[in-house]
Amino acid sequence: MPNQLLFAIEVTINGLMAGVMYSLVALGFVLIFKASGIFNYAQGVMALFAALTLVGIQNGQVPFSHLINAVFGTDIHHFGWHVPAFLAILLAAGVMVLFAIIVERYILKHLVNQEPIILFMATIGLAYFMEGFGDLMWGSEIKKLDVGLPQGGSLWLEAKSKVLGGDGFYGFYIDKLDIWATFFAAVLVISLVLFSQYTKTGRALRAVADDHQAALSVGISLRAIWVIVWSIAGFVALVAGIMWGAKSGVQFSLSLIALKALPVLMLGGFTSIPGAIVGGLIIGVGEKLFEFLIGAPFLGGATENWFAYMLALVFLVFRPQGLFGDKIIERV
């Protein structure tokens, strides 16, 4: 096979892996949007906050140590213990559940029946709040996240695929972490589907997503459902935070993955879980291939910033509800 084609295949595979990462974030959006009609801009910051909390617990950092030191003139940093990764993940998930309860009690409860735009604004406010709060609690320096996932290129695959190409080709480079991320994303999606199809709570969730009032009238507690949904979204954010954090360090830019997930949502439709997956894959492959074939050689590179949006924009003009979204029916 010619090398150019092999490079294109490598780019495509890497694009698929990147797409999985986008889907992970988009999944959290879809869950909340379906269950409460809230477009949760804070999903990216939730991933950041979850990852920060995980690293903080793992390393035994003292929360708010900067603030305490500034106010009382002390000098404390760490408790001096290290929590094993699995326990730390459980504790971080617990923190996200607590967060869901607080959000429901102090924000959502008061904003029932407001227009969607107001709720959207509230989540942007929440994103700002959590960004400051997370930094204040755990410090704003770049942190290394290590939960024991393998990293670096897969040498095995590289050696095996080298034979396909000629002299200039050294085999496919694929990050092991991306493979694990794909695996976890698959597990997550399958368990979410099983949960929503075969459990009582899952059925209640789908009922609420279908029709709030009808769900209320058959005795489903809307507030409990919201807490559950935000907890699940928090857990998805934790998984996304672990994957992205392990890849590029836990820092402020992690919260910007929300911006990567938005075109995925538009493409896949705001209300569809399969849409989030398929949309993520399309966007991942599309932007990597575009950068490889057109962006880098002809347009000066860095097209990944906007290509996804443009693709989604053009796509939406022909299909305003996205690939799998519910058909928009408007009544006067």
Binding site: L111, F129, W306, V332
Partner: protein, 358 residues
Amino acid sequence: MWYREAGDFKKTYSEDSQTFPIRLDRIGYFVILLVAVLVVPFFITSYAANAVLVPFLIYAIAVLGLNILTGYCGQVSLGTGGFMAVGAYASYKLMTSFPDLNIFFVVILAGFVTAAVGMMFGLPSLRIKGFYLAVATLAAQFFLVWLFNKVPWFYNYSASGQINAPERTLLGYIITGPNTSPSAKYLFCLAFVILLAWIARNLTRGTLGRSWMAIRDMDIAAEIIGVNPLKAKLSAFGVSSFFIGIAGALYFTVYLGAVEVGEAFGITQSFLVLFMVIIGGLGSILGSFAGAAFLVLMPVLLKNVLVGGMGWPTDIAAHFEFIIVGGLIITFLILEPHGLAQLWRIIKEKMRLWPFPH
């Protein structure tokens, strides 16, 4: 007792339809205008101009623009930063290509260029609605910033990729460049604010404004009663972008003087202006000013209190700023989703009845 319309008889149609029907409002408006034009320029310090007044005036223009689009026409836009960048780069190209062109016309022309770009990005709004549109406008944001970063023609092939405003004068006074006096900066921006606020106020209560509001309230119903959605939506995008372009041009030429596009016109800028609209009040001219004033003043105050007053390190103060801004936005939305403008309306209602409770 003194704040009411009783005894203030309207004898002509134009009196009946004036902007401020209550006499005290009219007096207050002209007093504020006189103070702003005749008193403030003589007492303005460099710090007050650069930290508070000039950014307030420029953001007020941008907020007016976004309020026309989002508050009056109901189309949520997250592309404000990108459109401000268009205004800034248009003014830069005009200033360097036509050195003799008056700076006033440069700014106005930059507004028209932005209006054209805005209408182009407004075209999808005819098909895409709601959140899908809000996210679609992000395409404008990212694409425009990328464009100004990557195409060297826009920054005249300068090595740093920055654009710098050359010195320009108006009526003999220096308006742009490092040697500008604070009062000149202030007055130049103020002139635009007064002009554009007047235009905005009169547009929004005329035919065009009513068609925007009809589209906002329900676009299908508006279409049925004869509002042309193409005309209404595109004119809203055009007018809004015109305002935002002027704000961007002023932000670059008068306020900053040197700009790097990703820093000055990034996504945070879009959100900041949107917050100003929400906190001030959707669909209110006064609210636009209140929102801009609130979010320009608050960080300055917080910084002075936390860093200056309590001696905290700046990074902790910055974290607190995020927490307080976010918390305030949520609190505002819970307590008063219609913003500062609604609070002012409630106060006015109370004042008209005062001293009686009902």
